[in-house]
């Protein structure tokens, strides 16, 4: 219980730290935010007006306070370039990005875990070698290139078997679920395959390690086959570590997700962030960066909690006999 409270406190502290960091990142610009946003050719009057609008004439602490206060109330302000509410924008964009992440992860798990088990259970040398080769090569493909190859294979118009749409997301969004999923399939496969390779590699090596242990011997002594013992006991034993690894992979997967959103012209959070950085819409960027960091810090927290929850060994050492 104490550990949980400490982890929660830590989470809040990390959030606070991130808000400071993101805020500071946009204040250490050479010159000031207003002149950067206004561009090189802006008149001094325009810059001054922008300063007023952004509240840059107030003290740093005041600016930070009002921004953080807004964020805590769920009000991220409006974008100065488009005049639209940032929260609404993020809401719309999330409908692309989060399904994409979920679908990618689903594909990764559906491929990665069975393939990892098969790799660990394979007995012949050529089979083991080819599983190893697949996992290494799969994990070494840049997301951008993987996406291009998939477009060349399956993309409508250019591909050899042109059956899947490779550009954009349907206008109606999720009103037509089939079409929406179809348009996310190629991007999700791109990130999914790369992540699958990592999960496969980890599952295989963790299972291999467990297979030499007395847990498996015990299972086999009780009449299980090697395969049964590995799948029922081995997988259960590596489950907590697997959850941690999957959580961390999620963080690694995000660079791929942002790349893929740009490549497949999906209007998601990642492409929004990149566009806003390109447009120098700095206050929007500030809120977005903070929100995304908060999201990933939360993922880290959830993974840690889950790890505690499904690993009985961590509960057993509560007395203080730590490894």
């Amino acid at each position: 219980m104490l550990a949980v409270v400490r982890r929660l406190l830590l989470f809040v502290a990390a959030l606070f730290g991130m808000s400071l960091l993101v805020f500071a990142a946009l204040r250490i610009l050479p010159g000031d935010v207003a002149s950067v946003m206004a561009g090189v050719n802006a008149t001094p009057q325009r810059v001054e007006a922008l300063r007023e609008q952004l509240g840059l004439n107030r003290s740093i602490a005041e600016q930070y306070g009002s921004w953080l206060g807004g964020v805590l109330r769920g009000d991220f302000g409006t974008s100065l370039l488009t005049g639209r509410s940032i929260s609404a924008q993020i809401g719309v964009r999330s409908q692309v990005t989060f399904p994409l992440i979920a679908l990618g992860m689903l594909i990764a798990l559906l491929i990665g875990i069975p393939a990892g088990c098969a790799g660990a259970l394979a007995t012949s040398r050529p089979a083991r070698q080819s599983f190893r080769a697949i996992s290494i090569i799969g994990g070494s493909i840049p997301a951008l290139w993987g996406g291009l190859l998939l477009i060349l294979l399956f993309g409508r118009g250019v591909g050899l078997i042109g059956i899947l749409p490779s550009q954009g997301f349907p206008q109606q969004g999720w009103q037509n679920p089939l079409q929406a999923v179809m348009s996310l399939l190629l991007p999700a496969m791109t990130v999914g395959i790369i992540v699958a390779a990592g999960i496969m590699r980890y599952t295989r090596s963790a299972l291999n390690e467990v297979m030499g242990s007395s847990f498996i011997d015990m299972g086999m002594a009780c009449g299980m086959t090697r395969r049964q013992a590995t799948l029922r006991i081995g997988l259960r034993i590596i489950a907590p570590q697997l959850v941690s690894v999957i959580g961390l992979t999620l963080a690694e997967m995000i660079t791929g997700v942002v790349v893929v959103e740009n490549l497949f012209a999906l209007q998601g959070l990642g492409s929004m962030l990149i566009t806003d950085v390109g447009n120098r819409d700095l206050l929007t960027v500030q809120s977005e960066l903070f929100l995304l960091s908060a999201f990933f810090l939360t993922i880290g927290l959830v993974v840690d909690m889950l790890h505690q929850l499904i690993d009985p060994r961590l509960r057993a050492v509560k007395g203080g006999i730590q490894q």
Partner: protein, 303 residues
């Protein structure tokens, strides 16, 4: 690791098929990178408005891009940039990772707790977010990639290396060194680092592969290497535009990146087997003193 041990490790890596492949690829990379510093088939800035988006031909083996520049020349020049990025990122990761490990091992309870806690909290931040936080104020540059990658990987490195470093830190010889008045820094460099070196090297070679992948992604997004500098990510991003003109041109830059990253991963695996005295019999009795110590640590780990 003395020179004789390094020689044994290298020949052991060379003796396996995958190890040989990785050494060959990495040497080619180094040679091309060095060559590109003095010579490329065409100058990077030799543009030619009459020959844009050319398919591969004898004069331009990989074709030309939208301003008529030679794709092969840019790819060659990119290998030097990537080599620099990888070296810087690996060095920075090693330094920050070791500092974190040292903090986690420190006898000062507050500091060691703090290090563990900070790693747990920050490890879930994606590289691309860190890169954006850096790229917004400083603009795209090589340093953005290096720092963003090192940030995440040094946390990972510290987390992975910690259990073994703890074992060494609790061993009798560290205790004896400390009671003889050795400083914490000395214990770290003479006892702990040599013992965790195999694990460290493997992780660093994996990290090198990931840095290359991150570079290609970040550069494509415009927050990595500036567009005026050649890099593999830059070549990949150019190849995206080829897809409608000459689809097969898409293959080359990606293939180079994939082959090099595969080689770095295989090198890591081969290195792990080669530097571990339990796996590699040739290491067991070359010079008794150092190998016995590693053997002992390995025995502790096994039991």
């Amino acid at each position: 690791m003395n020179r004789r041990r390094s020689a044994i490790v290298l020949t052991s890596i060379w003796s396996t098929a995958t190890g040989r492949f990785s050494l060959i690829v990495m040497s080619c990379w180094l040679l091309v990178a060095l060559l590109s510093l003095v010579w490329t088939p065409y100058s990077l800035w030799a543009t030619d408005g009459f020959h844009v988006w050319q398919s591969p031909s004898w004069s331009h083996p990989l074709g030309t891009d939208g301003s008529g520049a030679d794709v092969l020349s840019w790819l060659m020049a990119g290998s030097a940039t990537n080599l620099l990025i990888v070296l810087l990122a690996v060095i920075l990761t090693a330094i920050c990772g070791l500092l974190l490990v040292a903090a986690m091992l420190s006898s000062h309870l507050g500091l060691s707790q703090l290090a563990v806690v900070v790693i747990d909290a920050l490890i879930s931040l994606p590289t691309v977010l860190v890169a954006l936080i850096l790229a917004v104020p400083f603009g795209p540059s090589i340093m953005v990639i290096v720092v963003a990658c090192s940030f995440g990987y040094s946390l990972n490195l510290a987390r992975i290396v910690r259990p073994q470093a703890m074992l060494v830190a609790r061993s009798a010889y560290v205790e004896s060194a400390l009671s003889n008045g050795a400083s914490a820094g000395r214990v770290l460099m003479t006892h702990i680092v040599p013992n965790i070196l195999p694990l460290l090297l493997v992780q660093l070679s994996m990290c090198a592969g990931t840095v290359i992948l991150a570079e290609s992604g970040l550069t494509y997004l415009g927050i990595g290497v500036p567009s005026s500098v050649a890099s593999w990510g830059h070549s990949l991003a150019t190849s995206v535009k080829f897809i409608n003109v000459y689809p097969l041109a898409v293959i080359w830059p990606g293939l180079v990146v994939t082959v090099v990253v595969v080689a770095l991963n295989l090198f890591g695996d081969a290195l792990r087997d080669a530097v571990d005295p339990l796996e590699n019999p040739r290491l067991r009795n070359p010079s008794p003193a150092p190998s016995e110590k590693t053997q002992e640590a390995a025995d502790v780990r096994e039991s």
